[in-house]
Amino acid sequence: MKLIIGLDGQSTGEKALEFAKTVAATSSGCELIVVYVIEWSPFSFHSAEENARRHKRREEEIQIARERVLDPALASLAKEGLTARGIVRHGDVADTIDNIAHAEGATQIIVARTGTGGLSKHIFGSSTANLVMNARVPVTVVA
């Protein structure tokens, strides 16, 4: 069994992690991949100066994501005796999680329900909803 856990760095992510532990406990040798997606579009607009510094900013963003979100998550899984690896990727949250799950041949994706609402959610829908609608791998949304 191979599980993808999609985290967003907010408190609801903890629940997804807890649920994944429960699922992983049911089978031996379960492989866990924790994915953190930094919201990013290659079709956004930037100033020349931002572009020049982009490479460095990207490295910083990845490092922060690893330190603050992934490493604690991996440590908490390791405490339960589970083997897990982490991936940080820039992109559209729903598409990126689905692409990784598909490429890895994962059994299921576990994500938390998106917390807060707001205007953008009304217009574009939440990334969780987008994932549920478009994923090629079964998705569990943890409430």
Partner: protein, 518 residues
């Protein structure tokens, strides 16, 4: 908060220094003095750049750009058409490695470069070209745009290939880097001197076309709506905002313009399309005028040659192909194949000149703001005989504004806002180009960068206060001077691009370079 406060204080302090002490006195006389001093100081430079080829009234510099673009077009066997589809594919991200997500994409490099070029050239410049050279100027403008795609391709490929990756992880690229590094690599002498020369012109260009011209036209646009008031007031306000962005690092302002400028661009093209659709029965006639004017002049000052000079000149000023500025903007892209950015960059003159400039020209022609003598079918010249007489005696932005206004009554207000925003985004872009040339000369460092940025802001005030004539002349001259050095060096470096092109197209054909399935 303290940060914001300190920035505001710094801005106010700057404004107090930049403003002449006698600002209270009659402002008109201040404007006049700035104007006279400016014209006196820059006249010789302008005269040299726009010197005519002996025995003709054809400026040698325009010939220089067109010949350069033609040579690149032939040398790379019309790369602009052969790789056009591939360029679109690259911008869509078909060839981008998902592992590189989060780096600067082809789309971002292209749009950043475009925000530096799409602007007043497309609105005011085209009106100047059509107002003086008649509709025929449009034909030559389009031709220059199509040829210019090859110049862009050449310089942007080199820009990425020879960029510097700085110790802090940022990148610096542009003609000064490819000239110095490229010449060294080929064992040619003088690379460093030429790079320094280019940098000097680039700094002047940043102060001129990238700054004073923008401030000047923005002020003209504001006075159209508010009534006349001294230019330095607009200048100080603009300088304050630009200062806040480039020195204060207030990203929110830059971020807002980044979002609004593309929207304005789309709105502008959309409005032009509306005017064209409403007058669809006149489109055929307008193209007829453009073709007839291109080869006969239809009575404009200077005839065919007058139309041609205006078309070529404004195209070059608008899309900056061969000038080298775009190579600075494009060099930040993430790619292991420098030539891919070359392909992407060739879309720039197409969007800027062939699409947007042509839209403006068609709207002006269709709106019939230019007065035609019904007896001869030729255009009527104004009293001075220098330009075509217009319905409201307008020129520049005002002519474009009147043309749009005749079809969509409220559009001049939107246009005024668009001009101000375009002017602002072009200033931000050019402050970066100028800065890169400045740091190439004086080294990177907080103090040297600050000196440049402060001077840049002072020039905004000068630009807004000076009258259009001397400013537009100096702006053109400085930007074209960059092209003198850049194209000269491109002739030596183009074989490097040719080798890249051969290698890349072979690998593309063999399937070694293939699309990523997303």
């Amino acid at each position: 908060m303290t940060r914001v406060y300190s920035i505001i204080c710094a801005t106010l302090a700057f404004m107090a220094v930049a403003l002449p002490a006698q600002a209270q006195e009659a402002a008109a006389s201040l404007d006049e003095r700035v104007n006279a001093a400016f014209a006196g100081a820059t006249g010789w430079f302008v005269n040299f750049i726009f010197m005519s080829i002996p025995g003709t009234n054809f400026p040698w510099i325009v010939m220089w750009l067109v010949i350069g673009a033609t040579i690149f077009t032939i040398y790379f066997s019309v790369v602009q058409f052969r790789f056009f589809g591939h360029a679109i594919s690259l911008v869509k991200g078909d060839y981008s490695d998902p592992e590189d997500a989060g780096e600067v994409s082809h789309f971002q490099a292209l749009t950043t470069a475009l925000s530096g070029t799409v602007g007043l050239g497309n609105i005011a410049g085209v009106a100047v070209a059509v107002g003086i050279g008649g509709p025929g100027a449009t034909f030559w403008m389009i031709l220059a745009g199509l040829l210019g795609m090859a110049s862009k391709f050449t310089e942007c490929t080199l820009g990425v290939k020879y960029r510097n990756e700085n110790p802090d992880g940022s990148v610096s690229g542009g003609p000064m880097y490819y000239i110095s590094k490229g010449f060294d690599e080929l064992g040619l002498p003088g690379g460093k001197i030429l790079a320094v020369l280019f940098s000097i012109f680039c700094i002047l260009g940043a102060f001129g076309g990238g700054n004073m011209f923008q401030a000047n036209q923005a002020h003209a646009q504001i006075t159209q709506i508010t009534g006349d008031f001294p230019g330095w007031i607009t200048g100080v306000i603009f300088a304050g905002v630009v200062f806040a962005v480039i020195v204060g690092g207030i990203k929110s302002i830059a971020r807002v313009t980044e979002k609004i400028v593309p929207f304005m661009g789309i709105l502008y093209v959309g409005a032009a399309l509306v005017v064209l659709i409403v007058n669809y029965n006149l489109i055929g006639w307008a193209f007829g005028q453009i073709f007839a004017g291109a080869f006969t002049g239809l009575g404009v000052a200077g005839g065919l040659v007058g139309a041609l000079i205006q078309g070529f000149k404004r195209a070059a000023f608008s899309n900056e192909a061969g000038v080298g500025s775009a190579a600075i903007a494009h060099s930040a892209v993430k790619t292991s194949e420098p030539i891919t950015e070359g392909f992407v960059s060739l879309l720039e003159p197409l969007i800027d000149t062939v699409v947007i400039c042509t839209m403006t020209a068609l709207v002006i022609v269709i709106s019939q703001q230019l007065i035609i003598d019904p007896a001869t079918g030729n255009y009527v010249l104004n009293e001075a005989g220098t330009a075509i007489a217009t319905v409201g005696d307008t020129s520049g932005v005002a002519l474009t504004s009147a043309a749009f206004g005749s079809a969509i009554g409220w559009f001049p207000y939107v246009l005024a806002l668009a001009v101000i925003l375009f002017a602002f985004s072009t200033m931000i872009s050019w402050s970066y180009y100028g800065l890169k040339a400045w740091t190439f000369l004086f080294g990177e460092g907080k103090t040297t960068e600050l000196v440049f940025k402060v001077i840049f802001c002072i020039f905004i005030v000068i630009g807004a206060a000076a009258s259009l004539g001397p400013v537009i002349d100096f702006s053109d001259a400085a930007i074209f001077a960059m092209a003198v050095v850049n194209i000269f060096c491109l002739y030596f470096l183009m074989k490097v691009v040719k080798a890249e092109l051969a290698s890349y197209s072979a690998r593309l054909k063999s399937g070694e370079i293939k699309k990523f399935t997303h």
